[in-house]
């Protein structure tokens, strides 16, 4: 899925389509799990809404105040996991990590914040199933989007 995505060196039509019309963007009023991943340094966040039918992810939405890389990755990832089970979604994260290996460190952080928000939404669902009164589950990011430039990286 990510073979054609080479941002910012050369933008594919698929990436551009996700930029212009992000998929599954917004809020889900009747979500079973709501997760937030927060980069405390930049205040960038991703909020992830998940609606489950047993193990199947029936509906999913996300929103962010972050950069366009976060939007594109969130849009692609939500398309990938929708109507699949949670086990597939966990594997999809690992699979996408491999594909995203080609991206810059900053873009890796953008991908991680999306995946972390998704995991937080599952944790929120699990906590509520166990009787917790938790509006949403918050996970703070270890790595910040403010990644120092790598040696030899294009100035």
């Amino acid at each position: 899925m990510f073979e054609d995505v080479k941002m910012p060196e050369g933008m594919s039509a698929e990436a551009l389509e996700h930029l212009m019309y992000p998929k599954n963007y917004g809020k889900l009023e009747d979500a079973d799990g709501i997760g937030v991943a927060l980069d405390e340094k930049t205040k960038e966040y991703v909020i992830f809404y998940t609606k489950l039918d047993n193990d199947i992810i029936k509906e999913v939405k996300f929103a962010t105040n972050g950069c366009q890389d976060t939007v594109v990755i969130g849009s692609m990832f939500t398309e990938m996991i929708k109507n699949n089970d949670t086990e597939y979604a966990q594997k999809a994260i690992a699979k996408m990590h491999d594909k995203l290996g080609k991206l810059t460190p900053q873009q890796q952080v953008c991908a991680d914040i999306v995946f972390t928000a998704f995991i937080a939404s599952l944790k929120n669902f699990e906590n509520k199933q166990n009787g917790a009164d938790e509006e949403l589950h918050l996970l703070k990011m270890k790595e910040s989007c403010e990644v120092p430039q790598q040696e030899g990286e294009k100035e």
């Binding site: 050369g10 212009m20 366009q68």
Partner: protein, 269 residues
């Protein structure tokens, strides 16, 4: 209670604004931009009234910017949206004002539709991404910049408006107004550029986590950091782009950010 009239007005503002970006004819573009500014003022007055009545509003949206192929498709869709707003006018002075403004816009739209010469091909959504003599790498950099910054300007317009509607401090009110006006100009510049590149798209919806500010000082400090980052992005883009006119434009935007920082510092206690 959340007032849905505000949401409709917000959507109408974006429809008029983005119609003005999409249409190339300078006369129609300019007229529609003026109307979008009037509609934005409707939003401001409506917000005040909603809060005075003890209700609330949010920035939820339920709209899409469809890829229209000609001017008349855009104008006809706008005309229908105006018509659909009719049942939402409040029965008071503000409602009357909005109604007469919108009726005049409707008259103008019908006037445009009467002349077939006005029906031109729309290239704002064709995704061709051609701009003067820029090469592909420069176009890619410009594309990402425009998506990031058009969202950011839209975000700032709405956040500052949200705070302006709630402040009782005249100095703060005045500074928010300046910052909103500045962001309108930037959004207009970036929106028209996106249309020229064939990548015109709505900025994404704002989540309440973005616009409900709990700590104003921290928000302003973060905002100053963002302005500094935006300045850096403008400078990088200006240096990277081999187009004198465009480079000068991004330098000009960069210098404007300096003054925004000064305005924002005044908001700090």
């Amino acid at each position: 209670m959340i007032d849905k009239t505000y949401q409709k007005k917000h959507e109408l503002w974006l429809s008029i604004l983005f119609a003005s970006f999409a249409i190339e004819d300078e006369a129609v573009k300019s007229r529609l931009y003026d109307f979008s500014q009037i509609t934005f003022r409707h939003m401001k007055w409506l917000a005040k009234e909603i809060l005075q009545n003890g209700n609330d509003y949010n920035y939820d949206r339920d709209m899409m910017l469809l890829k229209r192929e000609n001017t008349f498709d855009i104008i006809e869709a706008l005309s229908e949206e105006l018509q659909a707003f009719l049942p939402h006018y409040p029965a008071n002075a503000l409602g009357e004002r909005m109604k007469t403004d919108d009726a005049y816009l409707q008259t103008y739209l019908q006037e445009v539709l009467r002349d077939p010469k006005n029906n031109k091909v729309i290239t704002a959504f064709n995704m061709e991404r051609k701009y003067e003599d820029l090469d592909q790498a420069q176009i890619d950099a410009l594309t990402l910049f425009l998506f990031d910054e058009s969202y950011k300007e839209y975000e700032l317009i709405l956040i500052y408006s949200y705070m302006q509607a709630r402040t009782k401090d005249l100095l703060q009110f005045d500074i928010y107004q300046d910052l909103i006006d500045e962001s309108h100009f930037h959004l207009k510049s970036f929106g028209n550029m996106m249309a020229q590149l064939g990548i015109l798209a709505l900025p994404r919806e704002l989540h309440e986590m973005t616009y409900i500010v709990k700590d104003l000082d921290q928000f302003i400090k973060d905002g100053i950091d963002e302005e500094i980052a935006a300045k850096e992005m403008c400078k990088e883009l200006s240096d990277a782009i081999n187009d004198e006119k465009l480079s000068k434009f991004f330098d000009f935007i960069n210098y404007q950010e300096n003054y925004h920082i000064e305005l924002m510092k005044k908001l700090l206690k």
